[in-house]
Amino acid sequence: MLPAPGALTRAGAGVGRLGSIWRMARAKPLGAIGAAIVVGLLVMALGADWIAPYQYDESIARMKAPSHQFWLGTDNLGRDIWSRVVYGARISVTVGFATVALATLMAAAVGISSAYLGGAYDIVVQRIVDAWQSFPGLVIILSLMAVLGPGLLNLIVALSILGAAGASRVIRGAALSVMQHPYIEAARAMGAGHLRIVLRYIVPNVMATVIVLATIGLGSVILVESALSFLGFGVPPPYPSWGGMVAGSGRTFMYHAPWMVLCPGAAISLAVFGFNMLGDALRDLLDPRLRGGS
């Protein structure tokens, strides 16, 4: 008796998918390591309540060195540093993904519209982007935070505004390249409206560039957020931001309890390393035109 239609699967389909992931991992080992780190970070962020043995603000034993009970030691207020690092991953992932999502949306809107409309609009927008990019990132973020005030949402908005400018230039370049293709002209000849051309033809064809920028951008966002928290303008306490853990009591007690500063610092570096490696690998696979620094 023959199997029902739809029940048939291509022979070796499941193995093929796993096989192609394995082949990609072998081709880009650093990218695979980066992906593993990113997955680990996401697991920590989502499962913090189950992974962390204590709450992030629970006081247990002061200034204990790393041990079997306290894997990364405790701080001056008796809080378990491993638990705070795990909950800090939630902050970093939330800020990182939210910022990148908002920045990518803004960058795509500005970049694609600038490329599509062209003319005076493009010139004015690009001059504004040029001027915006003249500002050092941290300086503009600090100034924005001074205006918006502290808070997680304000931090995300400020970081998004900063990241959108540079990304819009790259997306504009990709959109300009897509617009040279004959299928765009064919779409116009068929009577497609502007919105249809942009959404149906341009956006899908710049998605590779957008994905690469977003992944690489995540690493930068985590770096900037940690620097802001270090300076006291990031996520306010008692939330355990990694940068905030390094500043304040971390720096104050670093000679007596170096783990208070080294452990969150290592967490930041590992997270940024993971996103950078994953972004590099995705860039090589999806859009090698962006290659320039590897």
């Binding site: 100034s143 720096r251 170096p258 570096s269 590897s294």
Partner: protein
Amino acid sequence: MRLYVLRRLLVALPSLLIATFIVFALPRLLPGDVVQMMLEEKAYGKDLDDLRAKLGLDRPLAVQYGVWLGEVARGRLGESLWTRQPVVTELIRRLPITLMLGTIALAVSIVIGVPIGVLSAVRQDGAADFVARSGAILGLSIPPFMLAIVAILLPAIWWGWTPLVSFTEWSKDPITYVVQFLLPSFILGVASAAGIMRLTRAQLLEVLRHDYVRTAWAKGLRERVVVLKHSLKNALIPVVTVLGLQVAQIAGGSVVIETVFSIPGTGQFLVDAISQRDYPVIQGINLVIVATIVACNLAVDLLYAVLDPRIRY
């Protein structure tokens, strides 16, 4: 060449003008906060309106911008809302310190980044390349403030040595003045060096594949001549572009490094001003930073013409 310089100047001016508007508008997105803060803490005036009039914040934004721009053209950047001291006076004292830090950091990034990038490209996929690329990736991943803290912490643990706590002025001891910048500048330069190394490597690899390089090899020229004389100059053009961007990155990084090492530069000044919402100081510092970066980008554009006479746009 003169026409090229003039064209680049004309292109730089609109960017600078837009940047001044951004500098002016940014702190004013939420008017009234600093006035309320000042009234609550220091009781500078009878009421909010009186204080706003005293500080010139009651006039229309366009008028405020025009007045401010006119003052800037005359070299006046206003007064601190808290101390009532001219912003220019404090900047004249602090800016040379930040410039010293940034200049040494930029030099470090070039001296480390370019040679290692060249070595990495010439020895592609070898042990030196792997070590260099891994080092670059680490340099890009570790936050500068962590590098600074580790640079202070580890010598303290191993050898009982810590850097100076107080800042030594040039007039007191010139040698100590320069030496105290070495560690912070090195840390600030390392992160930039990583990016420059990666780009130098990528660009040199691309140039080494060109036909004229193959011809040079075929002529029997030594490796040093082929790489340094024939290839490096072309490979450095995009690297010079990135150097202009690195100036912005170093300016931002100096804020963190000055905080860690307690260096009284413009970075620390900015952090204090932001904590107090001292808008004239924030504006003054941002304007000076932006003007410096625009000038550096202009210098980069002019350097293009020297590196490659074909470039005239």
